[in-house]
Subunit: 202 residues, 3 copies
């Protein structure tokens, strides 16, 4: 129940971020909805397809479809006031990537995949919706350029498998810790303006 | 037999629309063929992958490959005269999306998915070939911006499930009606210059 | 063993070509790695998804992940000296597409698909990593525009099935010949500056 609420909050935050990008590109209502949808579920969809969990998750649980439709309508109507919600949205989004990372790792473990692949799946679940959004909007994906986003997911994933090897904590506790780590790394990065070291001089 | 002829006409129209975009981007012969191919089968391929119907349809029925190759060669040779065929092409294309919508809905029903997902699959089958074409050609997908295209498919899909719930019509008749509805909505939208309400002022 | 070494050399060459494009686009370290990864395994991943071989190959064999990570770090550090390696890299890349073509054809045969589809799968394995790389970097894929690349794979594939029908050569020998043909066509095209006939005048 608690997890589901977080999942829905994360989906809302992702969908709204999609709406904002789509409005910026002057898309029509259909385009706006598709971008919101893809931002929210694109990463998990890619994950499910690559590991063979089909039909993909949002086809089997309509909650996502409804939540995204609602969030899209809300965001379109109140777009001029979303600025006031920016902090809440950022928080939901951050909680969302924490949760999505955990879901991806869990699916990888269930599919009996190597820890490194599980971490990749967690990162993909959390980040690739945004990548597909940016491609559809004809931009180079923002997470390839400047935001600490994927890094938070990767750090969380590594800590999961380290703690799993070294401690006797239950998987549920581990997932909770990982989610919090992802959130903490992302928050710290934004607050202290940390980014990945640049590869370019000057 | 009748359905197969329509399917082939739709595939031809989609492939030719791909060729025209690709020529516009000055692609080489290989690029032109790939864009034609992707425009014609991309939507159905995405649908098959997401619901797990693999190998995807055009790998099991080579007709598509042959028809697209033929249409590509035809379109490249007669490209300067295609203008005269514009009306026929538009008609084929419109019939094509009607049919592709039906095929997508049918596949969704066979996979035991919820009506909303079936409608999404129908729309995807009809529209996402064009989306992938535009992404490969480095454009924001045109159906996200101005054309009533997806909307026609969605309306058709809704009418299918409404009629199914309210009447005793056979599925074949329903599919025929849906195809005609999609075609009618699209034609009406183009003739009366209807588009989705804009989200932007001035 | 021999095949595996070639496979690794090809993967390295593909990954490095990804790094160079990514650095050119000023991506951050995470972006550079993802582009390297996608360039190296994207074609095979698409192939595996379309024929239903999931989880996809690099999830079941971590060698690819390690090799690409190593190649990325190497390429980032020595990027200013890569110019001196250009010939070696071109050679690896060319050997890589020869091998990837063979792997794709083989997977198609194992999945019991028609020779034309097998040739398409071989070409996809060899070429679509670069296509996905270019899309992620917001470019029209280079192989749709000017390079003889896919054509070499297609020629190799056709020769495979011709020889298979006309001779008694073992599959291993055929694959060796095909790999060499792909390499020869590509080398010849580059050395003699052959490209596909243009569809455009003046």
């Amino acid at each position: 129940m608690f997890l589901q609420i977080i999942d829905i909050l994360g989906t809302i935050a992702f969908a709204i971020s999609g709406v904002l990008v789509a409005l910026n590109k002057k898309l029509d209502p259909f385009g706006v909805f598709i971008i919101a949808f893809v931002t929210a579920v694109g990463g998990g969809t890619l994950r499910d397809v690559l590991i063979g969990q089909v039909p993909v998750f949002w086809m089997k649980n309509l909650t996502f479809m409804y939540v995204i439709a609602g969030a899209t309508i809300f965001a379109v109507i109140f777009r001029n006031k979303l600025d006031k919600l920016r902090r809440s949205l950022f928080l939901f989004d951050t909680i969302g990537i924490g949760l999505y990372t955990v879901v991806g790792i869990e699916k990888g473990i269930l599919a009996d995949l190597h820890p490194i692949i599980c971490i990749a799946l967690g990162t993909m679940s959390a980040c690739f919706g945004g990548v597909i959004r940016d491609i559809l909007c004809n931009e180079i994906p923002v997470i390839f350029r400047k935001e600490i986003y994927a890094t938070a997911c990767i750090v969380g994933g590594i800590i999961f498998f380290m703690l799993e090897a070294l401690t006797n904590l239950s998987t549920d506790i581990l997932f909770l810790i990982v989610g919090l780590v992802v959130i903490a790394v992302r928050l710290a990065a934004v607050i202290f303006k940390i980014s990945l070291p640049t590869l370019y001089k000057g």
